[in-house]
């Protein structure tokens, strides 16, 4: 325990932090310049800008410290940490799917299955190094994207059901199986949820150089290897997201019906 604490505290005495602080100072001067300009232009944004800047700095340093702690713990803890992130992701997804029956269970199973399968497979295959330093940040990226895709799928599915209620019930009234009646809407939800990932795959490299690749290049990696690894990350995000939204749509497609195969009420709030 002592060594863990020492290791953690060492991070704060690392001389690189001094360099970091100097860089923050330069960036802060630039930012302050913008705040000052906005004041001169009478934008009355300066308070909000200043607060946002300070808040951003505090949050990101807090996050860095937490990651610092995480890097000192044992490898097995990465499983616990990732599971915690999946629970958090479920919680956030739940708000999107609010009004859909069984949304929490469905989101949890889908996110754990989709992102878990990809993380485990890629770790076993060696594409993610089996260390906390690699597993936690890469895993969190995969989970965060799975969450976003899951939210999009649920949101779209919910509005599909709400706007096609008459059609779905007309199908049920013919004695058709609920899964067949709903399959068109399940597909629409999955497709809609994957559009953003597909678009970023398409624009990869020419519209944007994504964070991981930029970071690796900054850290002195071979740019071609950085590019290849960035693609690996994108492919993992795509795979995990696809698995997640397919799982959640299929499961939610069962939860929206009663045992007697009646379409349950799906509450839609005014904002969607």
């Amino acid at each position: 325990m002592d060594t863990v604490l020492e290791e953690f505290l060492e991070q704060f005495t690392d001389p690189v932090l001094l360099t970091g602080l100097a860089q923050v100072a330069v960036a802060a001067v630039l930012a302050a310049l913008v705040v000052g300009l906005s004041h001169l232009r009478g934008l009355t944004l300066e308070r909000e800008l200043a607060v946002a800047l300070v808040r951003g700095l505090v949050q990101i340093v807090a996050m860095g410290s937490i990651v610092g702690v995480l890097l000192t713990v044992d490898f097995v803890w990465s499983g616990v940490i990732l599971l915690g992130m999946m629970i958090g992701a479920t919680w956030i997804s739940k708000n999107r799917g609010e009004g859909l029956p069984g949304v929490v269970r469905v989101s949890f199973v889908a996110i754990v299955f989709g992102s878990g399968l990809v993380i485990v497979t890629m770790t076993l295959a060696g594409a993610i190094e089996a260390t906390v330093r690699n597993l936690v940040p890469v895993g969190s990226m995969i989970i965060a994207n799975a969450m976003q895709i899951n939210s999009l799928a649920l949101d779209r599915f919910k509005s599909e059901i709400a706007s096609n209620r008459a059609e779905i019930e007309a199908g049920l009234a013919l004695g058709a199986p609920p899964t067949a009646v709903i399959s068109r809407h399940v597909e629409t939800g999955v497709q809609a949820s994957l559009i953003p990932v597909i678009d970023s795959l398409k624009s990869l490299g020419w519209v944007w150089i994504p964070g991981i690749m930029a970071g690796m290049i900054l850290a002195g990696e071979n740019p071609i290897y950085a590019a290849l690894y960035q693609f690996v990350i994108m492919a993992m995000i795509f795979a995990a997201g696809g698995l997640t939204s397919m799982t959640s749509s299929l499961l939610i497609g069962k939860y929206v019906f009663t045992d007697a195969e009646q379409l349950r009420d799906v509450e839609t709030d005014s904002s969607s």
Partner: protein, 225 residues
Amino acid sequence: MTPTPKLETRNLGRVVDGDRLLEDVSVSIPESTVLVVVGPSGAGKSSFLRLLNRLDEPTEGTVLLEGEDYRNLPPRDLRKRVGLVPQDPALVPGTVFENVARGPLLRDESIDETHLPELLERLGLTGYEDRDVEELSGGEKQRVAIARTLLNDPDVLLLDEPTSHLDSKAEERVEALLVDLIRELDLTVVMVTHDEDQARRIGDHVLILRDDRVDRVGPVEEVLA
């Protein structure tokens, strides 16, 4: 002993989240008769038909199909036997054929090559198979919806205001088709209408609903005299 009615409701009712949709409806529909359901808007007529097809679950009482509690039947079998033509035809984007055959298509069953053309002919839809349903008139859409339900060969046909959204010419046409169908196919029917004259022309028995309850029930010639 009177024969078992084709369809019978016993104290049928439904309450959703404290809102009452229907209360204590007991009525029997003998084989090959037409029960018309009339009443003001919001009286519970559609709610009643949805309960008969078990699209909604009764919270009180039940429905008997040929004497058997319908909750003991698999819902899909029940819905094939007690077919509902909903108030809104709710056709799916596509052709007339895809809509009329929607039941077997969704159930992944083969389509009866003689039954379907015969039904299209009865409903004046011969030659319409490949037409896009978007292009159909209201009356044509309603006829597609009726054919879609009849393709299942239901024992009981439930019709929810089949002519209410139509102009008077289309209304006459659909009503005439229904009268012929009911007679020729010897159907047992429950039909909702807000038109008392139509109720007199088509119905054998009438059920008047008011404020979610039975107001009157009996032979058309007595109740709607």
